[in-house]
């Protein structure tokens, strides 16, 4: 399952690790999300948010892989 949407962190607040929160923007709207499980995330990072909780930081360098893979499997006539 699970609806999880990439958003960009625009502010971080909260004291200890488990109350660490962020303001996250998704294409023009902003909502708070828990950053407790992504301590490495900094402002400007894209994170994957499910039900108001960040579960992963999106790795920009890996994000091209889907397109590189398409190039690798060769030109296909369409």
């Amino acid at each position: 399952m699970c609806l999880a949407i990439p958003g960009r962190i625009i502010a971080i607040f909260g004291r200890d690790s488990f109350s660490r929160m962020g303001k996250v923007t998704y294409g023009g709207i902003t909502k708070e999300a828990s950053l407790a499980f992504v301590p490495e995330a900094i402002e400007g990072d894209y994170i994957l948010v499910h039900a108001g909780v960040a579960i992963s930081v999106i790795k920009g360098e890996e994000a091209r892989k889907t397109f590189e893979y398409l190039d690798q499997i060769g030109e296909v006539e369409i």
Partner: protein, 338 residues
């Protein structure tokens, strides 16, 4: 403009404001008639209607919260009824307004709503000519509910309705979708988010008058309110016994509306609008209609066509080139986790 009822008297609505006595008379005279100057002190209104054909429609408004970005229940109640008249090809002329007020509603709030109604009526050049007020006990209403009934005149002899839609018609959307529903959603407790999304609540009568004045008779017009564009297209496909095929990529959706729909798991095609309509137009007139609509909103677009295929079916070409059935939304739109 300040609230004309002295707040020191009764800053909130009392049961007696609906009781038929002096307090109710003061509310009508000093608040309602201060804004609704065309209302005569009588049980009904005598109207001057030169045309043979009039169009009448009625609608009730129960939106919560009462105020949302881009509007409030007042201008929504005026524009909603004006738009229903406009979609029938009529020029809106008169409105009746019926309030159900909850005991305890602040007079200031009521005044803001009434003032917004007056402004909306002025913009659309319609007169609010008669009305009614009732008060219910505290806890039995959501602040206030409004019913409006509208009368418009038909200045032509054409029928503009779902059963006039023809095969090969093009489907034109007047602007981007989903703003009203998401503006209301964003200001509700629980699912709120920060955004600059404003309701698209607006009168559509001028658009329609411009189209008619250009000598174009649209086959059908429909504002995409509750249930969104998906519901409207399904209703028209069923009523016209034709198939409608649209392209998702052709449908403009604002980035913020899209973001909100993504995180809550909504389809923008299911989200309510209050100032957006679909027009079914003969193909040779599509450019003229688009030109007219573009004067109001550059996002107006051709989103699909009508075919004499499976009656009642609406299909959608997906952004990646697949095709699927576009169904009515089922009931209340609820946020998903999965």
């Amino acid at each position: 403009m300040n609230c004309p009822v002295p707040l020191s008297d009764y800053p909130t609505v009392m049961m007696a404001h609906g009781g038929g006595g002096r307090l109710m008379q003061r509310l009508i005279d000093e608040l309602f008639r201060a804004a609704f100057v065309d209302v005569q002190p009588h049980d009904g209104a005598v109207l001057d209607i030169p045309q043979d054909k009039i169009v009448i429609t009625t609608d009730s408004f129960v939106v919560s919260p009462l105020f949302f970005p881009g509007g409030n229940i007042g201008n929504l109640a005026v524009n909603g009824t004006i738009n229903d008249l406009a979609m029938c090809g009529a020029k809106p002329r008169y409105l009746s307004v019926s309030f159900i007020l909850e005991e305890g509603l602040s007079m200031e709030t009521l005044w803001q709503v009434v003032r917004a109604m007056r402004t909306a009526a002025d913009v659309a050049n319609v007169a609010i000519v008669t009305g009614d007020t009732k008060v219910v006990e505290r806890g039995r209403g959501n602040g206030l509910y409004i019913n409006t009934t509208g009368i418009g005149v038909l200045e032509h002899n054409h029928v503009i309705a779902p059963d006039q839609v023809k095969s090969d018609d093009v489907v034109i959307l007047s602007r981007d979708i989903g703003r009203h529903g998401m503006a209301v959603m964003g200001s509700r407790e629980g699912l709120s988010f920060e955004s600059d999304i404003k309701s698209d609540c607006a009168p559509l009568s001028a658009y329609v008058q411009d189209i008619l004045q250009a000598g174009i008779i649209p086959h059908c017009l429909r504002d995409a309110t509750r249930g969104g564009v998906a519901a409207v297209l399904n209703e028209i496909a069923t009523a016209s016994k034709l198939q409608i095929d649209i392209r998702e990529n052709a449908i403009p959706v604002d980035e913020a509306v899209r973001g909100a729909c993504e995180i809550l798991g909504f389809d923008p095609l299911h989200i309510a609008n209050e100032g957006c309509f679909v027009a079914f137009i003969a193909p040779q007139e599509q450019d003229s209609v688009l030109d007219i609509l573009h004067r109001y909103n550059p996002q107006a677009a051709i989103i699909g066509t009508v075919a004499d295929n499976k009656p009642g079916l609406v299909t959608l070409e997906t952004p990646i080139g697949g095709r699927r059935i576009l169904d009515m939304p089922a009931g209340e739109i609820l946020p998903r986790i999965c």
